[in-house]
């Protein structure tokens, strides 16, 4: 098995799509949220909406780590690179995301800042070792998937005494974001957003396991199906959700058994617990301040915490008021309901968080689905 196209088989897709069509009740509309940007990307990349009956509506959740990073944090990263003369190492898709005054890491790089795109945080540590006279900061972003590698690299930096290396930590937690959506008045009290079930994260769940979702299923009576990022995974998960809704059940099911267990990756979880602790709150672009949703580096590793090593100016960066991302992320509106979508806000010139990465709902709609609008 090569794991390149085995889960993209068109014939099998037709069969599952047929099963979905037969399973849905024609008098009911099913609203499912895929939390992860990886799922959003797969849905559009493979044209999954064309295979679904009209009464299944997909809501694209806030699980794109690039999209949810607030302007203030991007401003701080740019400040590190431009004002503190560090070598700033960043994952690729963070490079274009605009902060205040539409400045991005790419623009700061063009202005002379030393910003380097890395594929792995291990590369950032290597750059630090190769440049002992410079301060090197890794711009750490991402959900539970990218947190263990960052933890490991901090541990290694300490062991190897790479004292010119530090991490600007922006790691965030999936369960608290799902809680925020389910707790929002539109979903819980006003019933404005009919939310019948979740497609649970793929890669995140390989680390945290399927257990953390039991709470949502029970407390909010919403079915959750954890699914891989391949298009057949997504279709199969939708079929499983339809069946749960029809049966009136709300349990956690695992479609992604080839990678996800109930308890997850204990070694990774222990490593993360050793290095990081919860922040009492963290700002998410689109969701605002979310309690206990972000991680920071523990005091015993503070020598490698860029926020401790450098004094960063508080940024006043705010999202554009006309941007509907907060509502799109909660499923209250769709991208085409936004005045800025496709006019002032495009992938070349993104204004809102959902347009900045190809995994954001607006960018996916624009780049892959514009012909239908």
């Amino acid at each position: 098995m090569k794991y390149v196209d085995e889960y993209r088989d068109g014939k099998m897709a037709k069969q599952i799509a047929e099963n979905i069509s037969q399973a849905v009740h024609s008098d009911k509309t099913y609203h499912f949220m895929e939390f992860c940007g990886g799922h959003t990307h797969a849905i559009f990349r493979y044209g999954i909406p064309d295979l679904l009956p009209n009464n299944i509506k997909m809501i694209h959740g806030p699980g794109c780590p690039v999209c949810i990073l607030p302007i203030a944090r991007i401003d701080s990263a740019i400040e590190l690179a431009t004002e503190h003369d560090v070598i700033l190492c960043s994952y690729g898709d963070m490079m274009r995301v605009p902060g205040s005054k539409r400045r991005s890491l790419l623009k700061a790089k063009a202005d002379g800042a030393d910003i380097r795109m890395v594929y792995s945080c291990a590369d950032a540590l290597t750059i630090a070792k190769d440049n002992p006279d410079r301060q090197v900061v890794f711009f750490a972003i991402g959900f539970e998937t990218t947190t263990p590698p960052t933890a490991l690299i901090i541990q290694q930096a300490q062991k190897q005494q790479v004292n010119n290396f530090s991490v600007f930590c922006n790691h965030v937690l999936t369960p608290s974001a799902i809680s925020t959506i389910l707790e929002s008045p539109e979903v819980r009290d006003m019933g404005l957003v009919p939310l019948d079930g979740f497609i649970g994260p793929a890669h995140v769940s390989t680390v945290i396991g399927s257990q953390p979702y039991e709470y949502f299923a029970q407390e909010y009576q919403k079915p959750v199906v954890i699914a891989g990022f391949e298009p057949l995974d997504v279709l199969q998960a939708i079929l499983m959700l339809v069946k749960q809704v029809n049966n009136g059940s709300a349990i956690v099911e695992n479609e992604f058994t080839r990678a996800v267990t109930a308890e997850g990756n204990l070694k990774a979880k222990n490593l993360v617990a050793d290095i990081f602790e919860m922040r009492s709150e963290f700002e998410w672009r689109g969701l605002g301040l979310v309690p206990y949703s972000g991680l920071r580096i523990k005091a015993k590793y503070q020598a490698f915490d860029a926020e401790k090593r450098f004094t960063l100016q508080p940024s006043k960066g705010r999202d554009n008021k006309a941007c509907e991302c907060p509502k799109i992320l909660r499923g209250v509106k769709t991208p085409k309901d936004c005045k800025l979508f496709g006019t002032k806000c495009t992938p070349e010139n993104p204004i809102g968080s959902c347009m900045v990465s190809s995994e954001g709902a607006c960018a996916a709609y624009y780049s892959y689905g514009r012909y239908q609008l």
Binding site: K2, G92, M117, P347, S357, Y366, R370
Partner: protein, 347 residues
Amino acid sequence: MKNNPYSQTLDLKNGRVEMIHGAGGKAMSQLIEQLFVARFDNPILAQQNDQASLQLPTGKIVMATDSHVISPIFFPGGDIGSLSVHGTVNDVVMSGAKALYLSCGFILEEGYPLADLVKIIDSMAKAANEAGVQIVTGDTKVVEQGKGDGVFINTTGVGVITDNIERGANKIKPGDKIIVSGSLGDHGVAIMSLRENLTFETTIESDSQSLHDLVSTMTEHTPEVCCMRDPTRGGLAATLNEIAQQADVGIQLYEDDMPIKEQVKSACEFLGLDPLYVANEGKLIAFCPEEKAEALLSVMREHPQGLDAAIVGEVFADDNNFVQLKTSFGGMRMVDWINGEQLPRIC
């Protein structure tokens, strides 16, 4: 007394490019004679005038220029020298012209090893010879260390259209079929596998090659072929979006029919890239009326440069000029303009 040449010998084994090699004196003259004139070896260049005067056959004259700044300079399947010939020859021949002459402008960085420069020039000479073009005029500049990236090469090509047929995006009509000449994304993946901080093992080589012979076979057999392009930077997706806009049409592609090697698919998979946006340097896209498409395809497949040619889509009337793809999975999606370089996704 005779005006002597430069008294120091040029050490092509261990020597390096020096500022003096671009200063217009005897050292520069020595470099030009021993490297360029000797290796490009043709009577027009040998005259060493500041310009080349050319005798051209009757027909419309075609010109194209391309600058090459590739990193790394040597890569599997080629180097900056061969690439600088292939790139410009291909731009010329996509019009249906026969490519005849090239100019070359070198920007060299002080300190660049002369032995590597020799390799590049030999590779250019070989590529030009294979493409049937002569490098007839040139220029050399040297920049201080740190102000270049080893070697930059600009080439300009001149060719002539002798069959008197005008080809281009404006000739494309709804209903035309779209053919690609072979596997997509090989060059981009070969280059990426060598980039700093991204080394991975692959046996994929760049497809860099001159397509002059394939093009002349195609135009001879199917003169109706109405537009040809080489999908270089931004890959098939960028080129087709450009064409759709210039021709004011829409384009429908079929993912199942795209010739993409397993290795390219795998590399793109773990890098989070879409092979349709990855660069090619030895492939072409041809537009042709539907009734001629199958015949053209078989002619292409008989040519060594078109063994894997495939019909991958068709043109339709669309005021939005969208490029769309029917996915192997059974759905539809757009293949949008590329926004800057493809950046790897985090998830």
